[in-house]
């Protein structure tokens, strides 16, 4: 009996006591990942709107730079799709993509052709189709060969100012909600709150990691990859502004930051996450193919497929190791139902 009791005592003293409580992991993620991310997005979006007021020419380097900065900030939080971002469909209005049926260019072209008055100010613009709002619509106005030169300069200028103003208003509203009460909800779960337990709060963060990785693999990489027989380079994300590969890199970096915070002081898990992310990120950096044009060529296509496989490998670590740590049971149907 004696050795057994001793073993139990050791387990109790060293095991649970050494691990950081789950609430601390969530707090770290909220305070050092989510809040700074949405703050950055709101600030850079305001800068973008301000720049557009003084310079609304689609080819303007200042405007394009401000656009790039704000879009970067969006990609850095684009996996955090719950709570404030989903209220009033704000995130959908900021990021209408993928656009499988080209609704964005069609809507913008129609609006420009008719010089629709709804584009006169951001408040009214909140009522237009979400396909004509946000970062992906703005990309057409700044970079597309057709849309960026359609109609009159004056109307397009108005449209650019309005779309950027709308982006600033949306991101400001998201940040307000986060700092106003939503962060508190996650940090202080209660039976009357949105999150009843610390586990539920942590699981929301876990879900952000796992759905974010799925989006990188299946959509950001999967869309241009298409199939071997039918690659779809023209479906790469934000290819007009040359940002497709950049988005993969930025989202992997953001997802790594969040996953690592959730791993806390679990050294074995942290190592596995580090290795898995290192592989994917270094492969992504080596691609040197900003818009995944290489999907058409069997040799370069292979390199992009490897990145996608590396993202799947991260997902496996997240599902099998990070999930159980945060109390997510990896049931076959729960993981991937229909």
């Amino acid at each position: 009996m004696r050795p057994l009791l001793f073993a139990c005592a050791v387990t109790l003293a060293v095991g649970p006591a050494a691990a950081r409580p789950i609430s601390e992991l969530t707090a770290d993620a909220v305070n050092n990942h989510v809040l700074p991310g949405y703050k950055r997005l709101a600030e850079r979006s305001q800068v973008l709107a301000d720049v557009a007021q003084s310079d609304c020419v689609s080819g303007s380097p200042q405007l394009r730079a401000a656009y790039g900065d704000a879009f970067d900030a969006w990609v850095g939080v684009s996996h955090l799709r719950f709570g404030p971002s989903e209220r009033d469909d704000r995130a959908y209005a900021l990021a209408f993509w993928p656009d499988s049926r080209a609704v964005t260019p069609k809507t913008l072209a129609a609006m420009i052709a008719s010089e629709d008055d709804i584009a006169q100010n951001p408040d009214d613009y909140a009522d237009v189709s979400i396909a004509a709002r946000g970062f992906y619509a703005l990309e057409f106005l700044l970079y597309d060969d057709t849309i960026a030169v359609a109609g009159t300069d004056a109307y397009r200028c108005t449209l650019i100012r309005t779309v950027t103003g709308d982006i600033a208003a949306l991101t400001d509203a998201i940040e307000d909600d986060w700092t106003g009460s939503y962060a508190d909800q996650l940090l202080n779960p209660s039976p009357d709150g949105i999150y009843h337990t610390e586990e539920e709060a942590a699981q929301e963060m876990f879900k952000a990691v796992s759905t974010g990785l799925e989006f990188v693999g299946d959509t950001r990489l999967g869309r241009p990859l298409g199939t071997f027989d039918r690659p779809r380079a023209s479906r790469a994300e934000a290819r007009r502004s040359g940002r497709s590969a950049r988005h993969v890199e930025l989202s992997l970096a953001a997802l790594r930051d969040l996953a690592t915070r959730l791993a806390g002081d679990d050294a074995a898990l942290a190592t596995n996450l580090t290795n898995a992310f290192d592989r994917a990120q270094s492969r992504a950096e080596q691609l040197d193919d900003p818009v995944f044009a290489g999907v058409d060529d069997p040799m370069t296509r292979f390199e992009i497929e490897v990145v996608q496989q590396n993202v799947s490998a991260i997902r496996t670590v997240v599902r099998n190791e990070l999930g159980p740590k945060l109390g997510v049971i990896a049931g076959f149907n729960a993981l991937d139902g229909d």
Binding site: P98, R101, G222, R232, N333, A334, G337, D338
Partner: protein, 359 residues
Amino acid sequence: MTTSRRQFLAGLLATGLVPTPTWADAGSPQFLSAAALTDGRYVLCGIGAGQNILFQIPLPARGHAAAAHPTRPEAVAFARRPGTFAIVIDCLSGKPKATMTAPEGRHFYGHGAFSSDGQWLFTTENDYEAGQGRVGVWDVPAGYVRVDEFASGGVGPHDVKRLPGTETLVIANGGIDTHPDSGRAKLNIATMAPNLSYVRNGQLIETVALDPSLHKNSIRHLDVSASGVVAFGMQWQGGGDVSVLAGMHQLGGQAELLTAPADQLRDMRGYVGSISFSPDAALVATTSPVGGVVQIYDVDGKALMQRVTAADAGGVAACDAGFIITTGFGELGQIDQGELRLAKMAELAWDNHIVPVGV
């Protein structure tokens, strides 16, 4: 006995000497369910009245639901969306009998239903360039040949059932637009509009939508009672908590919601995986693999009556004792007098749905 009779019949069949085989010749399975084996292979299983696995037939990829032919011992196993294959399986020989391939520009959603005489099979499909739901029509005696299609009455049709004793189909148009070039990414959550549609002879005869405040509640899975009442299970795509996840409707009537106290409904995590009436249609059961819960509603009172805990509960169907339940952990069991009795059946994970044979 069963096996030898099956082998005997299979042998005779090869010589063309026997009359048309029936489900009894396949060992009288009561249910069909797709499953994943621990080695990564996928199968379709026939399950007997004693909750024993009667047969296990390989599938080329992950299955979803199945449809059992009303008389012949044939089952159609559907690929999960956005799959483009369905395999017709001869449940006597365990061999594939035909492969159905979705036409160019279409993919399956994973559910289908036979006409009452078994001459036609109807499949829910996505016309993904148009973003519109379709129902494919397949000629069964000709060898499951695609002959026609018609509008499903909405976007993202998922489950389809035939109202008993009629040729009317009821279709759960989940409302979610997807395109295979974006995997399973949901393209229209902000504007989605699910509905329940009834179709007779290819013509839409009735469409039912819930209150606009529930437009993000994807109507996904169905069961029908002998008297034609439709129970529907939903999946919430909006933020925060949802107020309802199941309801009932009868052709020509008003939709009625099945209600539960907020804290109990919350346990479902906004997700109904499967839904089923009890044999007497007095109860409706819903499963939530995400919540690890099965909820049972009283049909008369339209309210939650009881709940049982079952991790990764996916499939539910009526059985003599009440409900049969399957889980992703390989368990199979029943809810009888309110008690859940689950037992590990085999080293496999049951997929979303368990489908009754002979309905």
